[in-house]
Assembly symmetry: C2
Homo-oligomer: 446 residues x 2
């Protein structure tokens, strides 16, 4: 629906051109992904820990949001809503978190002198909502409510671009069950959904036992992408393979809870998602209750489940890219296909240009690609220059329609599969089949 | 993609049940739409001027966002991005708005003592972004960038629910042109797009000359829904029909600029959208420049164009609803169709229940309705009770499958068209045709 074909010349993508004589500033708080995203015009820095998300990255963001929406609604049966960003500090006082979290809370005082927190997470808010209509009949449960919204944290030292910023886009799901057994069933379902979601993204991840920390509750798991810029220390049991966040073990140098082994291999990870069973910490403090079958009131058992959407994208780029070229998971690339037509005024312009038009027309008809094809129509630039840029920006599939497509007897198209880093030359129909195959993760035909 | 059919029993919609003995609080800061939205479980109040947006209303919100995205991308050729919520107060000092807007600005101070504004609008931010890459070649223009994000305003007296809240969802589009003539062309295009968008919404509106006020610039138009709770005084020229915001005329009791008449009829309106030509107010102060064809630098001419998304929805409900029943524009109703199957244990349950299933199956196949059909499966409630609730919540089309559908020879379905407030009884195939007709705004067949 949103536009059949997109022209790169019309996209606002201010690439960073670093003059050769430039003095490079101290880079210790930047990461590869941050540098690549700045260089390729995906983000611009606005302030310390705040960023402009530019149109290409905005597309990735919306794809990630759509993926998460789908998983939440179809697999978890969760309903989407919006909780206010501004939260009364009184609510956090009731839960006991106001002082504990103080250093990282951003606050504002309104004209009536009331202190409001810019929500970093919303357990208090959602529990208050349920408490306001409590007690609810047991028939209404399980209840699963989520939002995708901007969250705020007053980081001591914002760093690594979107990975640790003052404001970030996050999905937070809250669940309510009538007892702990049901809460654990919900927990399994959502962990299974996270597995499915991360498999669709396709970046290798580890699931580790996490510390419940400030969140409270009993059980927690985290999902990490392994990376040297990761800020979490992970411990992988060399006997049974169970993994832990170091925080869980370090308290008393605990052994592996499954096999009692004490030998661990160390890894560092970027946390992209987490799951907590909160038990009744918030529901008790704030009065979220239900009525059981006999009409007796009980306290609800809660869970909370976050996915850092902006962080997930940045971490994917961090893990998959080279020092010079961005590589995206296919599912969240800004565009799946980039077509490069011949240079203006070249001798192949007429013939290859016509083939490029024909190809674009057909590629847009491949199911799922209606709105996912970009043409680099900056035709005053050579094919080589545009190909180099397409490799840097990292569109999963780049098709060059150049001299080989101007052959009279046998027009050929160059296909760069940047997911596999392979390159192949094919005829018109085979090119369409190959694009379709790559986009739908099908095996190569023999 | 998101679920073929939705069950009302699974939707979190905590309706407000007011005990008969309740003392009704002072209602002077509430409006009809706010009361109806609270009563029907679309919103809940969180604090003074902050609200929970519950699942049914969240659906409307997403439909409105999709409509605006479509108009911005397809008709305006605008690109979507995200500007940070937290804005350095220095930026607003440069534009001269920091002191002027102070009373309504919400601010936070980070741990390093830096004052950050919670953006109510983003002229300074977008202009700084363009300035950072200035001067840009004239070839890159017109440039049209927009976002849809939560904005903040420290209202003296938040009121009328989502119509004047401390935080609200808003679309803000910013345009950059190389001269004023081009900026006016852009202005015409976007005003035309607003006309199209408001025609799709279908609520009658008036376009009036607006005051440029705090925004600055030269030309401004506002779009209003007429309503007695509207906070803007509008003046309608009784000779030529041109309309004004009173602010424009009152300075010196000016006559109509087109016909010089001084007779106006008064109206009150809710502003749902506005358009401004900003000229070079921000681009000059913040240094957003371009290079013309001769390589000479020039200052960019800007425009800004807002639509209050949450306000648009609330205002639509305000204008179209009765005192007891919500009425939605078809395009942004949470669900277009609600089907009510027979009551559990009734004598028509088996036969009519089978017809309800068959109907649901077929209605979901009507193009555009795949994910827009709700079944009120709270079958322990009578049809009458559920019909009354469906009328209150205001789904545009309600289909009752009751005793008339259990007739052996001639099964019939009751169709309540809540857009027209009509009611008709039809056979199976005719019911499907009628639903399709209403949803696609086609004329009735003879």
């Amino acid at each position: 629906m949103i536009g059949k074909m997109h022209r790169l010349s019309k996209i606002f993508q201010p690439s960073l051109v670093i003059p050769k004589s430039a003095v490079i500033k101290n880079q210790d708080t930047t990461s590869k992904s941050q540098r690549l995203m700045l260089d390729q015009g995906l983000i611009r820095q606005a302030g310390n820990g705040t960023f402009y998300i530019l149109p290409l990255l905005q597309r990735s963001l919306q794809k990630a949001v759509a993926l998460v929406d789908f998983q939440m609604q179809q697999h978890v049966g969760a309903e989407k809503l919006t909780l206010p960003t501004l939260i009364s500090s009184n609510l956090w006082r009731k839960s006991g978190r106001l002082e504990l979290a103080d250093a990282e809370l951003m606050k504002t005082i309104d004209r009536h002198g009331k202190t409001l927190i810019l929500g970093p997470t919303h357990e208090e808010s959602i529990t208050t909502l349920i408490a306001a209509i409590s007690p609810v009949s047991y028939r209404q449960f399980p209840l699963r409510l989520y939002q995708i919204s901007t969250k705020f944290r007053d980081e001591m030292k914002p760093r690594f671009g979107l990975m640790r910023a003052k404001e970030f886009l996050m999905k937070d799901l809250y669940t309510f069950d009538i007892d702990l057994k049901e809460a654990h069933k919900t927990y399994e379902l959502i962990n299974d959904t996270y597995r499915q979601l991360l498999e669709v993204i396709g970046v290798p991840y580890v699931k580790v036992r996490g510390d419940t920390g400030l969140m409270g509750g009993s059980t927690s798991h985290e999902y990490h992408f392994l990376s040297e810029v990761g800020e979490d220390q992970l411990m992988h049991c060399s006997t049974c393979g169970l993994s832990y966040n170091l925080e869980v073990l370090s308290e008393q140098k605990k052994p592996c809870e499954r096999c009692n082994n004490k030998n661990f291999s160390k890894q560092t990870g970027i946390e992209v998602a987490h799951a907590f069973i909160l038990e009744d910490k918030y529901s008790k403090a704030l009065g979220a209750r239900f009525l059981d079958q006999t009409g007796k009131p009980g306290v609800l058992q809660m869970g909370c489940y976050g996915i850092g959407i902006t962080r997930l994208i940045a971490a994917s780029i961090e893990v998959q890219s080279s020092e010079t070229d961005i590589r995206w998971p296919l599912a969240i690339a800004p565009f799946k296909v980039c077509v490069i037509p011949p240079k203006e005024g070249s001798k192949e312009e007429t013939v290859a240009g016509a083939w490029a038009e024909k190809l674009l027309h057909e590629v847009c008809k491949i199911p799922g690609l209606e709105s996912d094809v970009l043409v680099d129509d900056r035709n005053s630039m050579t094919i080589g220059r545009r190909l180099m840029e397409a490799k840097k920006t990292g569109y999963p599939i780049v098709i060059v329609v150049g001299t080989k497509a101007a052959s009279e007897s046998n027009e050929l198209f160059e296909i760069y599969n940047q997911l596999q880093e392979t390159q192949i030359v094919l005829g018109f129909n085979e090119t369409l089949l190959e694009i379709d195959r790559i986009c739908h993760n099908r095996k190569k035909m023999k």
